[in-house]
């Protein structure tokens, strides 16, 4: 069988953060078969693609997306047809856009009506261009965790047996990852809570009125998911919730705006990954500029942003695995900023790139096995940049080509553009 050799100036293969010069990859049937020096891999019949000025990296992974989240609408809209086609249309558009930005695989962590499971099927069938998608479908939360009766993003349970049953059912519905909404704030006066939180001394327990899944409920879920090689993502806000989730065996902790010493120790003990979703927090600050009337919202967002940056640096220094996830639920977000913000938190460019590739894949169980690095047997998902992003992270804005499954990805689809007609036999 003939293949394709991609010969590049520099290669960041994602295995250890190093860059090698004058490298090439051989691809066959969508996968990497070999990695070597210039001129060593081409077999008779192979195509040769030369990109001698380019730096090649593995395709990026965004492990916190919500492609079908109705950014421009309201998913709680109380009608009989709550905008499912609108959510899907947006999901298709965002999947397209993320792929163009170099995200060749993604984990979608929570969607009303399990629409991301349907979207993942369309992508896998080749009908829609997008990242290889590990969908979570709807999330699981504790009794009382839904916002209201029209919150179709979540199911509620109480008890470990109920959680176990739900997980079995949800895996059958097609969830590749389980998303737990572990803690929820039960405050009527949110501004009042934020004021209390801002006033609380450093290191004090969060002053909120919280509901949380219990350790045995979380453990029931992780047990069921891990039997299938699937993973569990935990949305948690206060440190006590992070610690419960980690003790329950979750694979990733999302957001991480509040971590204590015990959290760091538990990350290291369990090998779990922190997905700090820097992009959404950062974007939120811009969003709240001149937004809500009560200045406490902005003040809290700024404080949270400081804490997240601090926590990322602290976790990284302690050796906690980090992975990129954007949480794109606000208009105008993009993927690349997540890598840049990791660098802004103090990671080296190559450490940030590992968080976007190898380490993100390592957080995804069986789904991540063939992703995240460029080595024999892995999917040939790769990016070609005009300069070396390990030397200057700014180079990730100079993305020249995106390959997925050994092929350049198609041009972006504009669902409102002019249709190109074929010539007829006039």
């Amino acid at each position: 069988m003939s293949g394709t050799v991609v010969r590049v100036g520099r290669l960041f293969d994602g295995r250890d953060g190093a860059v090698r010069d004058r490298a090439e990859l051989r691809i066959e049937a969508g996968r990497v078969t070999d990695v070597g020096d210039h001129g060593t891999l081409q077999r008779p019949g192979d195509d040769l693609i030369e990109r001698l000025d380019a730096t090649c990296t593995p395709g990026f992974l965004d492990i916190h997306t919500h492609f079908c989240y109705p950014i421009h609408g309201d998913f709680q809209r109380p009608t009989s047809t709550p905008g499912r086609l609108g959510m899907l249309t947006q999901g298709i558009a965002q999947a397209n856009s993320w792929l163009q930005q170099g995200v060749t695989a993604a984990r979608d962590v929570g969607t009303s009506f399990d629409l991301d499971i349907e979207l993942a099927e369309l992508i896998a069938a080749g009908s829609v261009a997008g990242p290889r998608l590990a969908p979570a479908g709807r999330m699981l939360t504790m009794t009382g965790g839904k916002r209201n009766a029209f919150d179709h993003m979540k199911d509620e349970v109480s008890g470990a047996v109920a959680a176990r049953r739900w997980t079995r059912e949800h895996l059958k519905r097609g969830a590749v990852v389980i998303k737990l909404y572990c803690t929820t704030l039960l405050e009527e006066d949110v501004a009042g809570y934020l004021r209390r939180a801002l006033a609380a001394p450093e290191g004090a327990r969060d002053p909120g009125r919280w509901a949380s899944l219990s350790v045995d409920e979380i453990r029931a879920v992780t047990h069921e998911a891990h039997k299938l090689g699937r993973t569990v993502a935990a949305h948690t806000a206060p440190a006590f919730g992070v610690n419960l989730a980690l003790r329950g065996g979750v694979d990733t902790v999302e957001h991480g705006s509040d971590l204590d010493d015990e959290s760091i120790a538990l990350f290291l003990e369990t090998g779990a990954t922190l997905v700090p979703t820097l992009s959404v927090s950062h974007h939120q600050i811009a969003q709240e500029d001149g937004g809500r009337a009560d200045p406490v919202f902005r003040e809290f967002s700024l404080r949270r942003w400081d804490r997240i940056q601090h926590n990322v640096a602290r976790a990284f220094d302690a050796g906690v695995r980090l992975a990129t996830g954007t949480d794109p639920v606000i208009p105008g977000m993009e993927y690349r900023s997540e890598i840049e913000l990791l660098v802004a938190c103090g990671l080296s460019p190559s450490a940030a790139l590992l968080a976007a590739t190898r380490d993100a894949a390592a957080s995804l169980g069986v789904f991540g096995n063939d992703l995240g690095t460029l080595e024999p047997g892995k999917h040939a998902d790769l990016l070609l940049f005009g300069a070396d992003p390990t030397a200057d992270i700014g180079a990730i804005r100079d993305l020249r080509e995106v390959w997925q499954g050994g092929r350049p990805v198609p041009q972006p689809v504009d669902p409102t553009g002019v249709i190109q007609l074929e010539a007829s036999h006039a």
Binding site: T81, L85, G86, P415, G417, V418, Q420, S424
Partner: protein, 407 residues
């Protein structure tokens, strides 16, 4: 204000008395045609769309379309259809129709009122396609549609129930209410199967729906395939009859007397007879479709002779079942002149949608929906297949790559 002049074409306005393709430029301001211009007449600050060598006709109107029934592999059982799969195919179908020059479609039914939502996405500028005029779910009798097909309907028993459902449909935002009033001629399966064309909804149920639609100022349309169903619908005041496959003299006289148009949907019969086997429907379905088509064409010819208005609609079930095929079948199989077929797909279809004066013609005040063809469809209706470009509401929405224009 954006001004555009479509220059150098020969324009057919099918609403005119004796339309021919005559040299004329069209001034478009924003989304509407605002003036007929003498060829070459100057307009300040206007963009030009070059229509030299083209024949310009109004954007076509498919009066019987189903956005969610096109092209889904019949081998995928319906319970395995995800909404994402259906949406993907619907967007493909809308593109195919728009690219073939159809700028408006009357959706004759979609499950869960999804055509209403698709219409909202179009208005929000998120997706393109022929402008959807939506019916939402059909109103059918309890156990009316075949097992497996019910999802497109809301089932009712009795006039109160019918009225309630009609009110809910109107509240959900439909542009018209669709009634399912008879089984199809030629059959199908299932335990409820009666003789071909047996009536389903009763007259009192139909009347209740029509009353509610009249209160809302919107029309009704009824799937009615046999004389008995058609007559019930007409007595109950239905505004348009779909399929009208089997008609007797009395039904035709009533149609003419009440001036109720019919939408014969020859394209789906042709499509099933032609592609049914290759699409996996089996010999039987293809043969039945052909037999049914002969009955439908005979009824259509008699209705036309009696002066019944006829609108063109496809009942699209796959992307080859296009409105230009309906027009071709009206000419080649039913004996229409090309002008009569073009009017069925423009002027009369606009009347059926209650949008006359706005679509289906090329004169000042109309929306700038237009289709540029390489040759005159009044000479040969097959010229509808040679599309150079399509404008919808003054915007170019489909255009042929000029590099590949070949003679």
């Amino acid at each position: 204000m954006r001004k555009v002049v479509v220059r150098g074409g020969r324009v057919i306005d099918p609403a005119a008395d004796a339309p021919t393709a005559r040299p004329r430029d069209l001034l478009i301001e924003d989304d509407r045609i605002t003036a007929w211009l003498e060829p070459g007449e100057a307009v300040a600050d206007a963009e030009t769309i070059d229509a030299a060598g083209s024949v310009v006709v109004p954007g076509l109107i498919d009066a019987h379309f189903h956005p969610f029934l096109v092209d889904i592999d019949p081998k995928i059982p319906r319970e395995r259809h995800t909404l994402a799969l259906e949406l993907h195919h619907a967007l493909g179908a809308l593109d195919a129709w728009l690219g073939s020059g159809v700028t408006t479609v009357r959706s004759a039914g979609a499950h869960a009122n999804h055509d209403v939502e698709l219409r909202a996405l179009q208005r929000a500028g998120v997706v393109r396609g022929p402008r959807i005029v939506a019916s939402g779910s059909l109103v059918a009798m309890t156990s009316g549609l075949r097992a497996g097909n019910e999802a497109i309907s809301v089932e009712v028993t009795g006039p109160d129930d019918a009225r309630r459902v009609a009110r809910l449909q109107i509240k959900a935002g439909v542009d018209q209410v669709k009634l399912y009033t008879s089984s199809s001629v030629g059959g199908g399966g299932g335990r409820m199967m009666g003789p071909p064309g047996w009536p389903q909804l009763d007259e009192d149920e139909i009347r209740a729906v029509v009353e509610e639609a009249d209160h809302a100022g919107i029309p009704t349309l009824a799937h009615a395939t046999s004389e008995i169903a058609v007559k019930q619908c007409l007595r109950a005041g239905v505004h348009c009859i779909e399929h009208a496959t089997r008609l007797d003299d009395e039904a035709i006289a009533l149609l003419a007397e009440r001036d109720v148009p019919i939408v014969p949907t020859l394209a789906i019969g042709w499509s099933l007879a032609t592609f049914g086997v290759e699409r996996g429907f089996g010999e039987h379905i293809a043969r039945t479709a052909a037999a049914k088509q002969a009955i439908g064409i005979a009824s259509l010819q008699r209705a036309k002779a009696a002066g019944v208005r006829i609108a063109a609609g496809t009942d699209a079930d796959n992307s080859r079942c296009l409105l230009r095929e309906e027009c071709r079948l009206l000419v080649e199989d039913a004996g229409f002149t090309p002008l009569e077929a073009l009017r069925a797909a423009t002027v009369t279809a606009a009347q059926v949608l209650r949008r006359e004066g706005e679509i289906g013609g090329l004169r000042p005040g109309y929306l700038a929906d237009l289709l540029l063809l390489d040759a005159d469809p009044l000479d040969d209706i097959r010229h509808l297949a040679h599309v150079r470009g399509v404008l919808q509401g003054g915007q170019v929405c489909a255009w042929r790559k000029e590099a590949s224009v070949s003679a």
